[in-house]
Symmetry: C2
Subunit: 412 residues, 2 copies
């Protein structure tokens, strides 16, 4: 088998951890597999580099930030190679460029254009472990080092797995896998053995932090099977599978996800007519503002458009809307922070009734709901968000060991 393993920064915090991971890598290789390893930068080293850059300059060209940050993964991978050698194994570390990870020129969040892993194959053919610096690539057009942005090392691993036609891409992290809810919030959360790419995408989009959407999207597009596992235990983790979760008829609830720190934006008196709302949407899309739960509400006071954005984007969203008010034409823009979003991910929920009922029963005010084929989301006060997660997790019987059978519409 050809296995791609990715280890995150928290698994590589110090020399001891690196040696532990080296032993795990060798164990995999010695059980008869070809192993490609993608290491993130050690622990907080990237944050330290960013701090240093901020001390040095208020004006940091993205190209130079990439040159700076890409060094972190080279360090961790070179150290991993040395640790493997020390344990009697053989390994060679490769930069993103050496591994053939070619990207566009979008510094700081480059997209992978092609993976041409000839040197990775060479290293494997020599019987050595191929170590690849994650998170980085080379823009062939400019000859410059690029970085892939948040979650970039996961994407590197998946992209290599795709290009090498690997049997599995294992993403090692500090949790046991993907859970039916954040175990810090719901102690009885269930480890999911398998989750489909489609469901995983929805969970990632609504707050599951274990995998980022872009990594799952890449896996889905290229047919890569991802296994999310703990680097500290021998658990088998969660398989993010290409197969659909179920036959498609049976309702199923995969989990409850949540996102705090949301701001609810409302725009009063949106213009009528078919062109008006697209014009507003376009505004947000062009500014890369991730609006969610967009809907038009009719109140006794008139119509308004409401949607959520992450707190971090609230200020510029309001500014943007104020700037374009005259051109597009709408009333006052209000923003309200301190909002949380809880989402029930799965299919067959038949509307939001089950979710609304369960939250009402727990004494939680629902500000707004949105439903799609794959989830039901509800907004509540951020300080009730964890209660909301627990209420839904319990109402939809997710904390039983058995597969959830209760679904929206019939919940409790």
């Amino acid at each position: 088998m050809l296995v791609v393993q990715k280890y995150g920064g928290s698994s590589l915090q110090d020399a001891d951890r690196i040696r532990q991971i080296a032993a795990r890598v060798l164990k995999t290789q010695r059980s008869g597999h070809e192993v490609v390893v993608v290491c993130s930068a050690m622990g907080d080293s990237s944050d330290e580099l960013i701090d240093l850059a901020e001390e040095v300059s208020d004006n940091r060209p993205a190209r130079e930030m990439d040159m700076l940050l890409a060094s972190g993964e080279r360090v961790s991978n070179a150290l991993m190679a040395m640790a493997i050698h020390d344990l009697g194994g053989s390994a060679r570390s490769l930069s993103g460029a050496q591994a053939g990870v070619f990207t566009d020129a979008n510094h700081g969040s480059a997209g992978i254009e092609e993976v041409a892993p000839a040197r990775v194959r060479e290293v494997l053919a020599q019987g050595a472990v191929a170590l690849v610096a994650g998170f980085q690539g080379l823009c062939r057009e400019t000859g410059d080092t690029t970085t892939l942005g948040r979650g970039g090392s996961d994407v590197t691993a998946v992209a290599l797995a795709a290009a090498l036609d690997a049997d599995v891409c294992e993403i090692y992290t500090d949790v046991d896998g993907v859970f039916s809810a954040d175990p810090r919030v719901v102690p009885g959360a269930r480890l999911l053995e398998t989750v489909s790419c489609t469901d995983m995408l929805e969970m990632a989009a609504t707050g599951a932090k274990v995998l980022m959407s872009r990594c799952v999207e890449y896996a889905q597009r290229h047919g890569v099977e991802i296994c999310v596992r703990s680097s500290f235990t021998d658990g088998s983790g969660t398989l993010v599978s290409q197969a659909p979760s179920s036959a498609g008829e049976e309702p199923r609830t995969m989990g409850v996800t949540h996102t705090g720190s949301m701001t609810l934006i409302t725009v009063a008196d949106p213009p009528a007519g078919p062109a008006a709302r697209p014009r507003m949407s376009m505004l947000l899309t062009e500014a890369r503002i991730p609006a969610d739960m967009v809907q038009t509400i009719t109140t006794p006071m008139g119509r308004e458009v409401a949607f959520t954005v992450p707190d971090a984007d609230a200020r510029r969203t309001v500014d943007l809307l104020e700037r374009h008010r005259d051109r597009i034409g709408y009333g006052p823009v209000r923003s309200e922070s301190g909002i949380g979003r809880v989402s029930l991910v799965g299919t067959g929920h038949l509307g939001d009734a089950g979710v609304v009922d369960a939250l009402a029963e727990a004494g939680i005010d629902v500000r707004l709901t949105a439903t799609s084929e794959l989830r039901v989301s509800a907004l509540c006060a951020a300080d009730r968000l964890h209660d909301a997660v627990r209420a839904l997790h319990s109402a939809f019987a997710l904390d039983t060991a058995a597969k959830a059978v209760v679904h929206a519409g019939t919940g409790r």
Copy 2:
């Protein structure tokens, strides 16, 4: 003018220092020059990486050490680019590979084979400062990152200056230039305005730390004028010139250098015959042991060969000689540590008499002397070494502001 400037790690210790250097670089550029800057890794960052590597592994492949250590210069150069941008300038940082520094495959102490600085020229043509990561290159044959070893950033700067046909190569450091002796030992040491490459080579070989021999050799071979200056003051520093120091007839004394931590090795009863001594020399040369002051001494007890090696090489020198005793044929090998070497660099000293007299007058026992066209060296107890430096510096009138006129044979 096209100026290459090199800044060492102590000039780049923290964010403040980096900003100071950035201002200096911009000042040079704004006074109408094209500027190429070579930065070493920040402060102690390379030592920290080495410590980390030693913690991780007792078995550190040189290839991986290079991958690890080369990251340090990328960090400092990227930060320098950001600092220059912050001050309103424009700069682009290049890795050794991007700057076209191509080396052999000798990891850890690679030799530069070719410098093809097309991208450096591009950056300059855009009116920006070109920042090049020192100490590193790319081996084209293997596609791997290499490092040049100690003093590698100086060599990078000189090599770029040669390839770009720069008008001057400025090596910025934490001292004001090249002195007639180490100012920490001789408070009255004189800053040399000009020193010839030939003299500088001899001074570097005998203990002057400000420039390493290989850098001066490279400059000499390629006709590059080096200027050694302080990064903290505006002094004009020392010009290491291609021109000979003087017409060649007049005796001149450039300075007094010293090296502590030497071991004196003696080999009793060396075999006679013309082939025997070369066989011993070959042994040392092949093992890259830098033997100095080699000479055959005849004592009442018989003949012996004596030479010095750095303390760090003493153990393996003795081992090597013991291993080959039977094959080559000689008596016991003795080693004596705690030896210092003081050297008077210059020409026209006409033998060692002046040096021996001056040291005797200062009450310093001379163990051995060696003279060449360019220097007179004497060995003494390491704990008298600084006294010996001061004695020679004063005896040869080096601490007067005027050019030294007293020379060996007529000293005091």
